[in-house]
């Protein structure tokens, strides 16, 4: 009922108890210099007896390394980030690192605060899903200060940092091609498409036309739109902006509304492509409520494979991103940087898989 913080056994006490200097005790316990076996045993036993536990703050203060990686995720509640984080956690843990987690909710101000906090806590590096792909002075500063940065899911223009992404454009193109191959000519797209500094959808279309766009530093949903355009063009089909459902904000509500708009058009699309998990769930809501039969009334392909897609009937075809692997790769890159790897930044594009399921059929004859 009395003693609270009498715990703290320091290296000094261990040293005293073992009859050596703190330096020697430090060497044994920290495992960094020379020391005789006999001394090692003595110190270790003393530490054991006193219940010594190192104070990693003190160590970090002096070594300048905390063995902690800061992670800025968009929203840890989404299966997307949760899986990536799992990958990061597994790899870092194996290397004895901890992870300090924050959510940005994809908002640059939140990201800024997060990065600031993490850096003040002296993390050894930053793994981050960035919210601003063109400026990000806070990340430029981090890189300049020698704090390794690894980007996930999207890359920042002119930032000398590693990035682990997926070739969204190719994967999306592949999906749409499957649909055109099946005979579809009116293919709807539902995507977030929130931020693009270049303007609106038609601006984007002309920018694509001009070929003046670096798809690797676009937000994923724009890359996926890019692939959609690619596929339609190679199939010789026109691009109807009315079939492009731009949700504009990352919310289930808005996605439902946009899907509903698409599916209630006079000339209903015969196939739908949803550009991420949230959109897919929202689309399913609408499809179910409109009583549309998949794939008879509507073929469907989704970006991101959610658990239910494999066991509802029919199964829903999906692009499955290697999420845990992305996290692992990002963490491995980070560990290499922390250990001093100074080679030039890597852009890693992992290959997604395609889960073919029963949601694709030829369009009904009209």
């Amino acid at each position: 009922m009395n003693d609270k913080r009498q715990d703290k056994v320091t290296i000094t006490e261990v040293a005293k108890h073992a009859g050596v200097s703190t330096a020697t005790a430090g060497r044994v316990l920290g495992g960094y210099g020379y020391s005789r076996q006999e001394i090692k045993d003595r110190v270790k036993q003393a530490a054991e007896e006193l219940g010594y536990r190192p104070n990693l703050l003190a160590r970090g203060l002096i070594t300048g390394k905390t063995k902690t990686i800061g992670v800025v995720a968009g929203d840890i509640q989404s299966p997307f980030y949760a899986s990536i984080l799992r990958g990061i956690a597994d790899v870092t843990r194996a290397a004895g690192f901890g992870i300090l987690l924050t959510n940005s909710d994809e908002q640059i101000e939140r990201e800024l605060e997060a990065v600031q906090l993490l850096r003040e806590k002296q993390v050894d590096g930053l793994i981050i899903a960035p919210s601003d792909l063109s400026g990000s002075p806070h990340l430029q500063a981090a890189v300049r200060d020698g704090c390794p940065v690894v980007l996930i899911d999207r890359a920042i223009k002119n930032l000398a940092a590693d990035a682990v992404c997926v070739d969204n454009r190719a994967a999306s193109r592949d999906c749409i091609t499957r649909l055109t191959d099946a005979g579809h000519r009116r293919i709807g797209l539902v995507a977030e498409l929130e931020r693009w500094e270049g303007g609106d959808i038609t601006d984007f279309l002309t920018a694509v036309e001009d070929g003046a766009l670096d798809s690797s530093t676009l937000f994923p949903s724009w890359q996926r739109l890019y692939g959609y355009i690619d596929a339609l063009r190679s199939a010789g089909l026109p691009i109807d902006p009315g079939l492009i459902g731009r949700v504009g904000v990352y919310s289930s509500e808005a996605a439902r509304k946009e899907t509903q708009r698409l599916l209630e058009r006079p000339e209903r699309p015969t196939a739908l492509f949803t550009a991420d998990g949230l959109m897919s769930a929202a689309a399913m809501h609408v499809i179910t409520s409109l009583d549309l039969q998949i794939p008879r009334d509507l073929s469907l392909i989704c970006f991101d494979d959610l658990d239910w897609m494999s066991f509802i009937k029919p199964g829903i075809a999906a692009v499955v991103q290697p999420l845990t692997e992305m996290g692992e790769a990002a963490a491995r890159l980070m560990l290499a940087r922390v250990e001093g790897d100074g080679s030039k930044p890597q852009y890693l594009a992992l290959q997604p898989k395609f889960a073919a399921r029963g949601s694709i059929a030829a369009p009904l004859a009209l």
Copy 2:
């Protein structure tokens, strides 16, 4: 191409630049003692000019507080923990705390390592989903050392720590009662039921019979079994151990196998209760593959509401646990403790909601 770690602007430099002592600069920048407005301005401006950022390690070393909470989740990849974590993150962030995350995979050795690492990193407190409900000397030690511990999802016997749980027994009882009310007499249960020190299912049944069981320190799946038994008893129905699907290990594979066993019994259950998200997904797999119609061939209620349950047809009735709220509550309790609240440990039992959906019907006449 040359300068790497020239960044570090310390309080000493700021002090020099502002023409005051480090103590004064510290007071201004740390916001803790007295200082004149004029001095404040001068120091702040100096800090601004030099781009000063406090080193939270140094601060933590001396104050003994890191403004960091350690979290030990089972598996952050599961929506269950992801949601809880989100709640924790929101509340702690608002209070300026960071969270250091680890996964235990529900294994006590992993938990032990995690707790050790977190404590060495000097976290101000530990929020943990414990893997061992009867001993846990490492947590007893934490509490003894004055490191606040808040348990989530389940409580530990004789540990003086706060806990945030859900009344699993009551929620489960409620579900089963809905099924018996609908006329079901053969109700199957699929649950993890991995660890219980008392023995096997029949031992558990007799222990329940004797009323010698504290349900609040059982693992959730056992509490849910308890509720299942409660409900059948009050309905005057016998308990058939053959209807209790004990998966025994937390794996989708095993859950599928066990569900299959139940659904291929000679006298197939007319209703099924799955005791958590993983079990539910596995059960759906099997139900779909056996081509059973819900609710005609089988009524279904699931513990934990997954997104697909609301948009597949028919919808699946589910117990929805207030996960984010649990995380928030745990974090709030933690913050109170960190700020010195020494009142006696609280056991918080949040109320789950029930999402009634079309997966419940009367059993087919035999």
